[in-house]
Amino acid sequence: MTISSQPFGHGLDPGTEPAQGTPGRKLGESSPSDQNKPPHPFRRDLTQGRFLIDSGLTILALTLTFLALVPLVSVLALVLARGGSMLSLELFTDLPPAAGMPGGGLGNALLGTLILVTIASALAVPIGLMAGIYLAEVASPESSIATVVSFAAKVLSGLPSILAGVFAFAVVVLTTGSFSAWAGGVALAILMIPVITLTTAEALRAVPRKLREAAVGMGATRTQTILQVVLPTASSGIFTGIMLAVSRAAGETAPLLFTALFFDYWPEAPFTTPIASLAVLIYNFSGVPYPSQIDIAWAASLILVVAALIANIAVRVVAAQAPSTQTRR
């Protein structure tokens, strides 16, 4: 059986196989009904083995792709359903419930996460930003320092987050003798620095070369060019990169387990004692048999997931806009 088929999507697809669909047909032998239609070069026999295999593989691949999205949908649905039902004012103002008690909130954990992320950002943003500027604007791409720095940043960004905690434990907790928000902040900063460095460098590299040349042509030094022309142009990309790093740090648990620890009450001012965080709250409450604590864990998950989604969507929106307004340098 010969079925005419249109090539999928674009012209250079498998349909472009001459004569495969019309095996053994010579010009003189065509049946009378075919006489008006010359053998179609884009015809093929879909029952032929290799095309069957082709369609089979396509169906299999599409099925696996959509299966791969099921977990995402399931996580989001469950977090929205179980966390969403917990939303109330008390959630943000109350302390977590004691074992077996109803109600309660996650106010101290939310505040703790904000404090930890603020400390981490104060350390990581300047370092990451400057290192990113160095990589993209100051160093020549072939210089050995630049190679080493970007290599170190890439390796650091693949570092297991718990090892950042181990490092902060060794450096801060063992030195000061106590678990503290500062130790947690240092651990999170180590995870944020490579992200900010690499996203800043990438955002700066997307700025068209023309702008730099124009600034230098006006008599600006390279520093003036960077600070007054390139950075403002790349600011949205840099800002979303920082947002991404912050949202990732907010969701990190492993580096906080033995640096910031956890605390059942509100954070206290010099932050030299253990401090609560949303992420550790989820971990602590995930294995308990008390429904009210598990509900609070889902509510904390909702806050972290929403923050992460907002940061990630912002990054993608900015990245999608960049190519249309800017040319490659």
Partner: protein, 324 residues
């Protein structure tokens, strides 16, 4: 930057920078270099500090630390063989599943199977998986994956219990649920880096394959994937590195039993899970050095994997330049 010195505020439009501006310029550029070097120093200091604190334990327990399987604070005997084995088994299981799905997703999203808009949407949705915190995956695994897998695991155990991999029931957390959630977590890493590798294969190669009569999948499997193979391999290596270091979801789902068992449904442990469970309440004199040594082992394993992965990717992108 001092705005009074900016070119716009001066009388003429363009003029060479003043001495002050030149000094300023040099100062700023040196400053950025110092911060960039700080990133390198941080990595070096991190390795040094973990090695330094782990050293006493390394001296005391020697090679027996790697092959022993006790973790006893009272007797001061420490061995991390169950953790090393559990880390490798859970990561390799996750890698097998994650690679199958990740590379397939990368092929589908790079070879114009779908309309461009849908392709863009799915690419970003897969990346959103990477945005979900590990601890949330752990919570989801406890409430969704474990109840979902348990009946299947237990019926496999009843019907095929003679087979070593199914020789125990899944009572709650266990190796398989942990590996399954790990696979989901490393999927975005494998998919996005593989997709970059596949997308950078020159269009000409594909056209040439179609030109000599290849079907779509013949072109993909015999031309495009082999050309992108180094990049895909780099993606798998980096996915492996992520799986090895992943902590929270694994610590919540693997069961944290200090044993090595054949069964996929038995509880196990990993290096990262050991650190997560023991560190906060560890005895500072006896147990902390042992934990630091375990952290050093994890650091060495992940550093090697990540360095190899980054190098493979660098070499892959360089070798592709020859084809372009």
């Amino acid at each position: 930057m001092t705005t009074t010195n900016s070119p716009q505020t001066r009388g003429t439009l363009a003029q060479p920078p003043s001495t002050f501006e030149k000094l300023n310029d040099r100062g700023f550029r040196t400053l950025t270099r110092l911060f960039a070097l700080a990133v390198v120093l941080m990595l070096v200091f991190l390795v040094y500090e973990i090695t330094r604190t782990a050293w006493p334990a390394l001296i005391t327990y020697g090679p027996g630390f790697l092959i022993g399987s006790d973790w006893s604070v009272a007797e001061a005997r420490f061995g991390i063989w169950p953790q090393i084995a559990g880390t490798l088994v859970s990561s390799l299981l996750a890698l097998a599943m994650g690679t199958l799905f990740g590379v397939t997703v990368a092929i589908v999203l790079s070879q114009s199977f779908l309309p461009p808009k849908l392709e863009w949407l799915l690419t970003n949705l897969v990346q959103l998986l990477a945005a979900i915190p590990s601890v949330v995956f752990g919570l989801w695994g406890l409430f969704v994956i474990v109840p979902l897998v348990r009946p299947i695991a237990n019926s496999l155990n009843e019907t095929m219990g003679w087979f070593p991999l199914f020789s125990t029931r899944l009572s709650g957390p266990g190796m398989f649920p942990a590996a399954l959630v790990l696979a989901i977590m490393i999927l975005p890493t494998i998919a996005s880096i593989s997709r970059d590798a596949l997308a950078s294969v020159p269009q000409r190669l594909k056209e040439a394959a179609y030109g000599i009569g290849a079907t779509r999948w013949q072109a993909i499997l015999q031309i495009i994937v082999p050309t992108a193979a180094p990049g895909i391999f780099g993606a798998i290596v980096l996915g492996f590195g992520r799986a090895v270091g992943e902590t929270m979801a694994v610590a919540m789902l693997i069961g944290n039993a200090n044993t090595i068992q054949w069964s996929l449904f038995a509880p196990g442990t990993t290096l990262a899970a050991l650190l997560a469970n023991k560190f906060a309440e560890a005895d500072p004199v006896v147990e902390i050095p042992a934990l630091m040594a375990a952290a050093l082992v994890l650091l060495v394993i992940t550093l090697v994997i990540n360095v190899v992965g980054v190098l493979i990717l660098q070499r892959a992108s360089r070798s592709l330049k020859g084809i372009h």
